[in-house]
């Protein structure tokens, strides 16, 4: 009985506090990407899509809905997927060949095993972090799942613009992280969100030339391997 009362009280506090103190604000802004050429000069990148912009400093419950990342034409769609910690992601094979989705990232190691066309695999990401997602069969398939602590995140459009909504007022670190296969650094700024207001921020990313190779799920180099099998794994 006593436990239930406490829980209720806490819930009331949580719900009442923002309502009582402040309205959530938003952050709007732009991500600029610079490419470092071989001569060392930095040139602005035209396509600024696919950059995940997020806030940290507070956590929010994950949405119950399952995020989706499918494989098609030996490519992950989408190639960058921000989710909230605790959220599930469904990896569906919409291709005509076998795929084996896996990750060896610190935040979450998983191995979906071989999925035949039409099969799906669902993974829950409980920890925040950057999850590099690969296919054990197709080396070229690269995707990034960014597990963030709250729902205030966005993915930039072609112009690099973004808008974060439902941000509690206060001072927050704001991050911008590109798809991992773009191999850019991580931009970090601080934003102060007024109650019900909209803060603006500009984040700058620099792409460095680096190889985007990776190892298979066993930590070994990719070799030629069949991507079609009649047998179930």
């Amino acid at each position: 009985m006593g436990g239930g009362t406490v829980k209720l009280l806490l819930l009331a506090l949580l719900l009442a506090a923002p309502l009582a103190s402040a309205e959530p604000g938003s952050v709007r802004g732009e991500v600029r990407i610079f490419v470092t050429g071989p001569d060392g000069k930095q040139t602005p990148k035209a396509d600024r899509s696919g950059v995940v912009v997020y806030l940290t400093g507070y956590t929010e419950e994950a949405p119950t809905e399952v995020a989706k990342m499918s494989q098609r034409d030996k490519t992950f769609f989408p190639s960058v997927l921000p989710i909230v910690a605790g959220q599930k992601v469904e990896f569906a094979n919409r291709d005509v060949v076998l795929h084996n989705v896996f990750s060896r990232s610190v935040a979450r190691r998983f191995d979906a095993g071989k999925n035949r066309p039409g099969e799906t695999y669902v993974e829950t990401f409980k920890k925040t972090g950057i999850i590099d997602v690969y296919c054990d069969i197709h080396e070229q398939m690269v995707a990034t799942v960014v597990v963030v602590p709250n729902r205030a995140f966005a993915v930039t459009d072609k112009d690099g613009r973004f808008e974060l909504r439902g941000v509690p007022p206060g001072r927050h670190p704001l991050f911008a992280m590109h798809r991992r296969d773009e191999k850019s650094d991580i931009a970090r700024v601080e934003v102060v969100v007024e109650s019900g207001g909209t803060a603006t921020a500009t984040l700058e990313l620099t792409e460095t030339r680096a190889d985007d190779t990776h190892l298979d799920k066993h930590g070994k180099k990719y070799g030629p391997r069949p991507d079609y099998s009649d047998k179930s794994p």
């Binding site: 610190v106 935040a107 972090g129 992280m177 991580i186």
Partner: protein
């Protein structure tokens, strides 16, 4: 010889010392070079470690692993406190599952992440870096780049993690450690440090392979870490450096009984800017080092020196022989001269003393030879004193042919042929020799030149080769003395029952040629010419007149009255147109003329005036005088067959 040996020994000792000193210098410079090459080797070793670490850090799998080790989650504001440890565990999983060779094979190595937490150490794969390590080498590598160090076993043991297993620790060795920063996607920020180690004994102090070309077993190295620990190839009881040692100089160090030359230098780091890792010592065994040099030197010197000495001896020997050979020849020549061989002539070489002696010797022998020739030429013909005179004045001899006025005398024994039939050859020769002995004495007395004995005949002449002014007179006197000899000897002969000994003498004076005649093998000093022939003819003609002497008028005139003579006839001998007035010697000038001489002169005058009857009477007046008898007989003949109108009173002798 002893001097040569002593100087050889002295030269040997001196050169040995010099060679030793030079070898020392050479060894010292070798040390310098060896030190340099060791330092290069050390740097190459470090570079190799660095390259391995760098390659490892660049390896894709390593990079992948290092990404998970250094998760960007924290950077991205998404990490939590367990993420790093999870990443390290993940990396260990990768390294373990990956081919370990790809990460460095047998060598000890370790990996630290950017926060200096141990990710993996090969010596203890289970070890987990639960907190950042305070290690100066890691800081240096993370902050300034690749860095090397020398770690002693004590230092290794004190490490906060296991780099070398306790069992694998090597006392007396040092670990050459290299810290290589590994870079991930960003080249500015290292994702970690790869730590590699190699034992100094393995990489730097390793005995060279026998197949290696750089085999130099004489060189030993020692490496000292900064904490004083040493790794050496030799058991060391003493410190290799001291306060009295100059840096950059080779110095002597005794290890036991062995003398080593030692050179010290810093063991430089990876680059010239890197701090030195420690010190390196190069040692060379001086005795072992110098032995082959000395041996080589002696091998070369001894035969050369001995060869030179032998050559010098041989040269001296031949030189002395060359000097002595003329003397030896002179000695031999003198010996031959002593034995009477005057044909010797020693070769004259050069103009030095020996040459001049040889020249003088030749001249002496030539003088002797000339003297001998004169003697040989004249001793048979001349009295010894004449020969001596000639020897004193060789120019008087004029042995070549010369035409001059001579008086020639021929003497022949009468009846000797019949006498020889009654005597044995021995007796004959004894008799003849008795006669010749005395006759020769007479000739010698009068300075005659004896031409030859012809059987029992004697031929001699005067005025050659030595000039004699009274040659005609001497001839006449000689003839008289010869007659005296015969008179003296004839009683001896008669006593033996032999026929009476008598002789005939012909003398002529005139020009003739005197000289050495004959071949080179047999030469005579003789005279030739009509004068000589006439003398011979006169000797034969004496028998016609029954006289013992027949002298030409020229002789008598030239004798200038030292003898008494009677004119006998005007004689034309065979082969000569000119008649010769001939005389018979009667005696010396002081002889009292016998009465028949006057009768004969009277008869001769009548005979020449063709009053033969009266002449005959005059001749017959002295029957004891053989010429008178002959002229009487001739008158008888002329009376029977009177001479022609143009008769000139000359008697022609047809026979010889």
């Amino acid at each position: 010889m002893a001097l040569a040996g002593a100087s050889l020994v002295a030269a040997f000792v001196l050169t040995t010392l010099a060679v030793k000193d030079a070898a020392r210098q050479k060894i010292a410079s070798d040390l310098e070079r060896t030190l340099g090459s060791f330092q290069r080797r050390a740097r190459i070793s470090q570079e190799r470690i660095r390259d391995v670490a760098e390659a490892r850090a660049k390896d894709r799998s390593f990079r992948e692993m290092s990404l998970s080790v250094n998760s960007q989650d924290a950077q991205a504001g998404l990490g939590d406190e367990t993420a790093e440890a999870d990443g390290i565990r993940e990396a260990r999983y990768v390294i373990d599952s990956a081919d370990t060779d790809a990460f460095g094979g047998e060598l000890p190595w370790a990996f630290f992440n950017a926060s200096r937490r141990l990710v993996y150490t090969r010596a203890a794969p289970k070890q987990l870096g639960d907190k950042p390590l305070e290690l100066p080498l890691l800081d240096a590598a993370l902050n300034t780049g690749p860095r090397s160090a020398l770690w002693s076993p004590a230092q290794l043991r004190a490490l906060p993690f296991t780099f070398i297993r306790q069992d694998d620790l090597r006392e007396g060795d040092l670990l050459l450690v290299h810290a290589q920063p590994a870079y991930g996607t960003s080249h500015e920020v290292p994702v970690g440090v790869v730590l590699s180690g190699q034992w100094v004994t393995d990489v730097l102090l390793k005995e060279p392979d026998s197949g290696s070309q750089m085999v130099d077993t004489q060189v030993h190295f020692a490496v000292r870490a900064e904490d004083g620990t040493m790794a050496t190839q030799l058991p060391l009881e003493t410190r290799l450096d001291g306060p009295d040692m100059e840096a950059g100089q080779a110095h002597d160090v005794y290890l036991g009984d062995t003398l080593y030359l030692v050179r010290e230098g810093p063991l430089s780091g990876l680059t010239d800017k890197s701090p030195p890792l420690g010190q390196v010592f190069v040692l060379r065994d001086f005795d072992v080092e110098i032995k082959p040099i000395l041996q080589r030197f002696q091998l070369w010197l001894m035969p050369t020196a001995v060869g030179i000495v032998l050559f010098a001896l041989a040269a001296a020997f031949f030189l002395a022989r060359g000097l002595a050979s003329p003397l030896v020849e002179l000695e031999a020549a003198a010996g031959r001269v002593r034995l009477g061989d005057l044909t010797v002539e020693v070769p004259v070489r050069g103009t030095d003393e020996v040459g001049r002696v040889a020249q003088s010797f030749n001249e002496m022998v030539s003088g002797l030879r000339q003297r001998d020739q004169i003697k040989g030429l004249f001793k048979r013909y001349l009295a010894p004193q004449v020969v001596d005179e000639l020897l004193k004045n060789p120019e008087k001899a004029a042995p070549g042919g010369e035409r001059k006025l001579l008086t020639v005398l021929f003497s022949d024994l009468v009846g000797f042929t019949s006498m020889s039939e009654q005597l044995s050859p021995e007796e004959l020769v004894a008799l003849l020799n008795t006669y010749f002995e005395q006759a020769t004495g007479v000739l010698t007395l009068h300075g005659a030149t004896l031409d030859k004995f012809i059987g029992d005949a004697i031929m001699c002449f005067w005025n050659a080769p030595l000039p004699l002014e009274d040659h005609a007179a001497r001839a006449c006197l000689t003839a008289l003395d010869l007659l005296a000899v015969v008179d003296r000897l004839s009683p001896v002969f008669e006593a033996r029952g032999l026929p009476r000994l008598d002789c005939r003498i012909g003398i002529n004076t005139g020009h003739a040629v005197a000289g050495n005649l004959g071949s080179s093998a047999a030469q005579d000093y003789t005279v030739i010419g009509d004068t000589v022939n006439l003398a011979s003819r006169l000797e034969g003609a004496a028998k016609v007149y029954g006289t013992r002497t027949l002298v030409a008028e020229d002789t008598l005139l030239a004798a200038r009255g030292v003898v008494l003579a009677r004119e006998l006839d005007l004689l034309r001998v065979k082969g000569k147109q000119q008649p010769v007035r001939v005389f018979e010697l009667v005696g010396t000038a002081d002889t009292v003329p016998a009465p028949h001489l006057a009768h004969f002169a009277e008869g001769l005058a009548l005979y020449r005036s063709q009053r033969f009857t009266e002449a005959r009477a005059a001749f017959l007046a002295s029957p004891e005088d053989p010429p008178s008898q002959r002229f009487a007989a001739r008158c008888d003949t002329l009376l029977v067959t009177p001479p022609p109108q143009d008769w000139d009173g000359v008697f022609t002798l047809d026979s010889k």
